[in-house]
C-alpha cells in the first residue's frame, strides 16, 4: 500500500494538479451552495470543461468538485434551512437550530471538521480494505437490502418525537408520495393521472427545497420575521467542549456511513439519516437533538462523507457505480478512454492511486478553505430578513429549475412550500416524511426483487444470518420506546436527564403527567 501511495502522490502532487483540485473544490462549493444542484449535476456539467486536461488532472478536478459540492450543500442547510443536496437535508434539523441560536460559525466549522476527519478515516479504510468490502457488499442481495430498508423504516420510531402515531403517519405519507410515478418493480405508471411530468415521480430534491426552505421562510414570516443574527466573534469559534462533544458522534457517523456506502444503491442520503438515528438512540445528549445539538450536525455530515467515499469501493474494485455521482464519474472515465472494471487497479495503478491521493488533497484544501470561511459565511445571517427572504426564494426557485430545466420543479417547490409551512405551524415532524420518501422506493424495489428470488420458497429467503441480525436490530429499535420508558420509570432520575435537565425541563412539562 505504501508504494502504491507513493505512486499516487508522485502522480497527483504536481503544482498543476493541486491548482485544479483547488479550482474544483471552489467550484464544487459554489455548486453545492445552490439548492438543487448537487455533486452529480456539478460533475456532469463540468465534464466537458475538463476535456482538454490530461485524464488524471481532469479526474482530480472532478473529485474536487465532488467533495466541494458536498460541503457547499451543508452551508445553506445550516444557514437558511435550504438543503443544497438530498444528503444534507438532515443537517437542517440541528444545524439550522444552531444558526438561529447564533452559533452558525461553530455549526459550519464542526461540520467541516467532522467531514474532514471522516473523509480521512474512510479514505484510509478505502485504500486498505476496498477489495474486502467490495466482496462483502456482493453478498448483499435483495433480501439483505430488504432487511436494511426495514431497519431504515423502523428509525421512524426515533424520529417521531413523542407522538409515535403521528410520526408513523408522516412516514406513511412519505412512502405514499414516493409511490407516484413509474415503479421499479413492474414498470407501472402509478397515480400519474395522465401527467407525463409525474412519470418520473414527485422529484425528491424539489420537495426538500419546498418543505424546508420555503416552508421555513413562510414560518419565519408568520412568527414575525427572524431578527438578523449578530453573533459575537467569540461565538463564531469552536470551543473545546464542542470538539469533545463532537468526537464520538463523528466516529459513529463515520462507521454507519462507511458501511452503508459500501452497498451499491443504498446512497448517502440514507447514511445521513441512519447516522442521525444512531445519535438519537445512542448519544448521551440524545434528548437535545433537534434543538441545535452539535451531535446532530456532525454525525450526519461525517456519515455523508464516509458514505460518499465508500461509494468508490464498488466503483474501483468492481467497476460498478455505488451512487449517482460515482456513476457520473465512471462516465467521465469512459470519456477519457479509461475502461472502469475489475481490472482498473491493475491496469491503471497510477490513475487510481492518483485519484485516491487527490481525495486526500481535496479534503485538505476543503478544510483549509472552509474553516476560516465558516465565520465569514455565518455573517450572511446579518442580512436583514426583508432582503434575506426574497434571496432565499430566488435561489430556491432558480436551483429547483436547474435540476431538470423544468418549470414543473418550480411548481413542486411552491406547493411543497405550503405543505411545509402547514407542517411547521402544526408542529408535525418533518424527518419521518423525508425518511418515508427516501426509503419507500428502495424498500419497494428490494421487496419486489426478493419476491422474484423467493419463488416458491416464500419467506425462506429471508433466513440468512445477515438478514436475521439486521431484522433483530430493527425489532430492538421499534421496541426501544417500551424499554426506554420502563427504564425511565424504574429510575427516578436517570443520569442522562440530569446534565441537561434545565433546558429540557420546560419542554417536557406537557408530557410528564
Amino acid at each position: 500500500m505504501i508504494e502504491n501511495l507513493t505512486i499516487g502522490f508522485e502522480a497527483a502532487l504536481s503544482a498543476e494538479n493541486v491548482l485544479w483540485c483547488f479550482v474544483g473544490v471552489l467550484l464544487g462549493t459554489i455548486i453545492g451552495i445552490l439548492p438543487g444542484l448537487g455533486s452529480a449535476t456539478g460533475v456532469a456539467i463540468l465534464i466537458p470543461v475538463t476535456l482538454t486536461f490530461s485524464p488524471l488532472t481532469a479526474l482530480i478536478m472532478l473529485a474536487g468538485i465532488y467533495h466541494g459540492a458536498q460541503f457547499g450543500a451543508t452551508i445553506t442547510a445550516i444557514l437558511i434551512a435550504t438543503p443544497g443536496e438530498a444528503s444534507s437535508v438532515i443537517s437542517t434539523l440541528d444545524g439550522y437550530q444552531m444558526a438561529r441560536k447564533g452559533r452558525a460559525g461553530p455549526a459550519l466549522a464542526i461540520s467541516a471538521l467532522g467531514a474532514f476527519v471522516s473523509a480521512m478515516v474512510s479514505l484510509v479504510a478505502l485504500m486498505a480494505v476496498a477489495p474486502f468490502f467490495a466482496n462483502l457488499a456482493l453478498d448483499f442481495g435483495p433480501p439483505e437490502m430488504l432487511a436494511i430498508m426495514i431497519l431504515g423504516l423502523c428509525t421512524i420510531v426515533v424520529f417521531s418525537g413523542r407522538n409515535l402515531p403521528l410520526g408513523m403517519a408522516m412516514g406513511l405519507v412519505g412512502v405514499l408520495i414516493a409511490c407516484i410515478g413509474v415503479d421499479v418493480g413492474s414498470g407501472t405508471a402509478r397515480y400519474t393521472f395522465g401527467s407525463v411530468e409525474l412519470f418520473g415521480g414527485v422529484p425528491f430534491v424539489e420537495v426538500m427545497i419546498g418543505l424546508f426552505a420555503i416552508g421555513e421562510l413562510l414560518n419565519q414570516l408568520h412568527i414575525g420575521m427572524a431578527a438578523p443574527i449578530k453573533a459575537r466573534f467569540r461565538d463564531l469559534l469552536l470551543t473545546k467542549q464542542d470538539l469533545k462533544r463532537a468526537a464520538a458522534p463523528t466516529a459513529r457517523g463515520t462507521v454507519v456511513g462507511f458501511l452503508l456506502g459500501c452497498l451499491p444503491g443504498a446512497g448517502t442520503t440514507l447514511a445521513s439519516f441512519m447516522a442521525y438515528g444512531a445519535e438519537k438512540t445512542f448519544s448521551r445528549n440524545r434528548k437535545k437533538l433537534g434543538t441545535g445539538a452539535i451531535e446532530g450536525v456532525v454525525a450526519p455530515d461525517a456519515a455523508t462523507n464516509a458514505a460518499s467515499n465508500a461509494n468508490f469501493i464498488p466503483t474501483l474494485a468492481l467497476g460498478i457505480p455505488g451512487g449517482a455521482t460515482t456513476a457520473v464519474l465512471l462516465g467521465a472515465f469512459l470519456v477519457y478512454g479509461i475502461q472502469p472494471g475489475p481490472l482498473l487497479f491493475e491496469n491503471q495503478p497510477e490513475l487510481v492511486w492518483g485519484l485516491l491521493v487527490s481525495f486526500f488533497i481535496g479534503n485538505v484544501i476543503l478544510l483549509v478553505l472552509n474553516l476560516p470561511l465558516a465565520p465569514v459565511f455565518a455573517q450572511l445571517l446579518r442580512i436583514r430578513y426583508a432582503f434575506m427572504y426574497p434571496l432565499i426564494i430566488v435561489t430556491s426557485l432558480l436551483g429547483a429549475y436547474s435540476v431538470k430545466n423544468s418549470m414543473f420543479s418550480v411548481w413542486v417547490v411552491i406547493v411543497f412550500g405550503l405543505v411545509g409551512y402547514a407542517m411547521k405551524r402544526l408542529n408535525f415532524p418533518m424527518a419521518p416524511l423525508v425518511l418515508g420518501l427516501v426509503i419507500g422506493p428502495l424498500f419497494e424495489k428490494a421487496l419486489v426483487q426478493t419476491s422474484v428470488l423467493a419463488g416458491d420458497d416464500g419467506l425462506g429467503v429471508l433466513a440468512t444470518p445477515t438478514t436475521l441480525i439486521i431484522l433483530a436490530l430493527a425489532a430492538a429499535l421499534v421496541t426501544s420506546p417500551l424499554w426506554r420508558g420502563r427504564l425511565r420509570r424504574t429510575k427516578t432520575a436517570p443520569d442522562q436527564d440530569q446534565d441537561q435537565g434545565k433546558t429540557k425541563a420546560h419542554a417536557e412539562k406537557g408530557s410528564h403527567e
Binding site: I30, I31, L34, L37, I45, S160, G161, R162, N163, L164, P165, L166, G167, M168, A169, L172, V173, V175, L176, C179, D183, G185, S186, T188, R190, Y191, I214, L218, L221, H222, I223, G224, F387, Y389, P390, L391, I393, V394, L397, L398, Y401, S402, M407, V410, W411, I414, G417, A422, L426, N427, F428, G440, F443, L447, V448, S451, E508, G510, S511, E513
Partner: protein
C-alpha cells in the same frame, strides 16, 4: 402509547382537520391502488401492494390520531399546534396573514410569468417587488439588491455553469424566425 392517560384539553380544530386530511390521503391512495395489479403474472409482488398496504395503514393511524385529538387533545411534544399566542395582537395577526398571502401570491405570479419574461428577469422583478413594495425598503437599496441578485445569478448559472435558463419572449430564437 395508549397507556398514557391523555391530558384533558379541548380538541383543536386545525389539528383535527390536518389529521382528517392525512386520513383522506390514506383512503385516496388505498382506493387508487385498485387500478393496479396486486401480483404480477409470475406471482411476484405487484405495483398495488405498497400503496394499498401503506394507504390502509395510514387510514388506521389517521383515525387513531383523530380519535386521540377528539378525546381531549394530546398536548404532547411533537404534535402540538403552535398556538396563536405568540404575543401578536389581532391587528398584527391580520397584517401577518396578509403578508403571507402576498408572498405566496407573488411566488405563484412569478412562476406564471417565467415563460414570458424568462427566469432571471422574473426572479429579479420579484425580488424588487418583495423588497420595495411588500417590505417597504428604500427603493435605492431594493434596486441594488435586485441588480446584484441578477448579476450573481447570471454569472453562476449562465456564464459559469451554462445552464439553459428560459428567456421567454426575450429569447433571440423567438425573434430570429421573424
Amino acid at each position: 402509547m395508549s397507556t398514557h392517560p391523555a391530558p384533558t384539553a379541548a380538541p383543536r380544530r386545525p389539528v383535527v382537520i390536518a389529521y382528517g386530511v392525512v386520513t383522506a390521503l390514506g383512503v385516496a391512495f388505498c382506493a387508487g391502488s385498485f387500478a393496479y395489479d396486486w401480483s404480477n403474472e409470475d406471482g411476484t409482488i405487484g405495483s398495488a401492494v405498497l400503496p394499498r398496504v401503506a394507504g390502509f395503514l395510514l387510514l388506521l393511524v389517521g383515525l387513531w390520531l383523530v380519535r386521540q385529538e377528539l378525546r381531549g387533545g394530546s398536548v404532547r411534544e411533537g404534535d402540538g399546534l403552535v398556538v396563536e399566542d405568540e404575543g401578536h395582537s389581532p391587528e398584527e395577526a391580520r397584517r401577518i396573514r396578509r403578508k403571507l398571502i402576498t408572498v405566496v401570491a407573488t411566488m405563484v405570479v412569478t412562476a406564471l410569468v417565467i415563460p414570458i419574461l424568462g427566469l432571471l428577469l422574473s426572479l429579479t422583478l420579484m425580488t424588487l417587488f418583495l423588497t420595495a413594495v411588500v417590505e417597504k425598503q428604500s427603493l435605492v437599496r431594493s434596486l441594488v439588491v435586485s441588480a446584484v441578485t441578477f448579476a450573481v445569478a447570471y454569472l453562476i448559472f449562465v456564464a459559469l455553469l451554462r445552464i439553459p435558463l428560459p428567456l421567454g419572449l426575450l429569447d433571440p430564437a423567438v425573434w430570429s424566425v421573424l
